[in-house]
């Protein structure tokens, strides 16, 4: 599935999206923490279909998934 990256995370990954295969949100995080250097040390949130998800949740591959570094609006 396609994962959207923003801000500091896009900078660290040197990409604004990545293609990742994962069956759940926690599996996705583990996979991304391997692929993006320094992600594990960052404070970030995972959004599934534009809503932040904290718990582990199955993924079908059709969701819109995004990695969000700290917000800075305003």
């Amino acid at each position: 599935m396609k994962v959207l990256l923003f801000g500091l995370i896009a900078e660290k990954a040197n990409a604004s999206e990545l293609l990742v295969t994962a069956a759940s949100t926690h599996a996705l995080k583990r996979s991304l923490e391997v692929r993006i250097p320094g992600l594990e040390q960052l404070s970030y949130a995972l959004a599934v279909d534009r809503v932040i998800v904290h718990e582990d949740r199955p993924l079908t591959g059709n969701e819109e998934v995004a990695l969000l570094p700290p917000f800075a609006g305003g």
């Binding site: 959207l4 923003f6 801000g7 500091l8 900078e11 404070s43 959004a47 534009r50 809503v51 995004a66 969000l68 570094p69 700290p70 917000f71 800075a72 609006g73 305003g74």
Partner: protein, 151 residues
């Protein structure tokens, strides 16, 4: 007033700084709404903060635009539910490079009485900062940068 309807899909983002004249024009549009007694406006201006001895010259804003607009719709509905007297609520946020001294954020509420307008602006300003996926890269004088994070 279309802006009193909380359910319409809208985009809060504008490319570049918000021109001060835009605020004046927004205010002028309310002259026909004679049930309004007060307008409360918050404007965010990019501040030339010092970071490790270097000065912030600009902030480059990006956003997860679809999610931010969806979150804004929810915040707007919450505001209209809590302060039903509000007649208008306008929110705009900049994308792109905004230099120190320029405006990047506007929250504008109108109501028959000042308390509702003020409380709505305070609530919406705080919630936008907390809940909207907007990212800010502070451009420092020496060419380096720093990623801004709201508290």
């Amino acid at each position: 007033m279309s802006d009193a309807k909380p359910h319409r899909k809208r985009d809060i983002f504008v490319e570049g700084a918000i021109p001060p004249s835009f605020i004046g024009e927004s205010i002028a549009k309310h002259a026909s709404q004679t049930a309004i007694g007060g307008h409360e406006i918050f404007l965010g201006q990019v501040r030339a903060d010092r970071i490790d001895g270097r000065t912030v010259e600009a902030i480059e804003y990006t956003a997860y635009r679809d999610m931010a607009n969806e979150q804004m719709t929810i915040i707007r509905e919450e505001a209209f539910a809590r302060w039903p007297e509000i007649t208008c609520l306008h929110v705009h946020h900049s994308l792109g490079t905004i230099r120190a001294g320029e405006l990047c954020f506007m929250v504008f509420a109108s109501a028959p009485h000042r308390q509702e307008a003020r409380e709505a602006v305070t609530f919406v300003t705080d919630e936008v900062k907390k809940r909207l996926p907007i990212f800010g890269k502070e451009i420092l004088g020496d060419g380096d940068h720093h990623w801004k994070a709201n508290p």
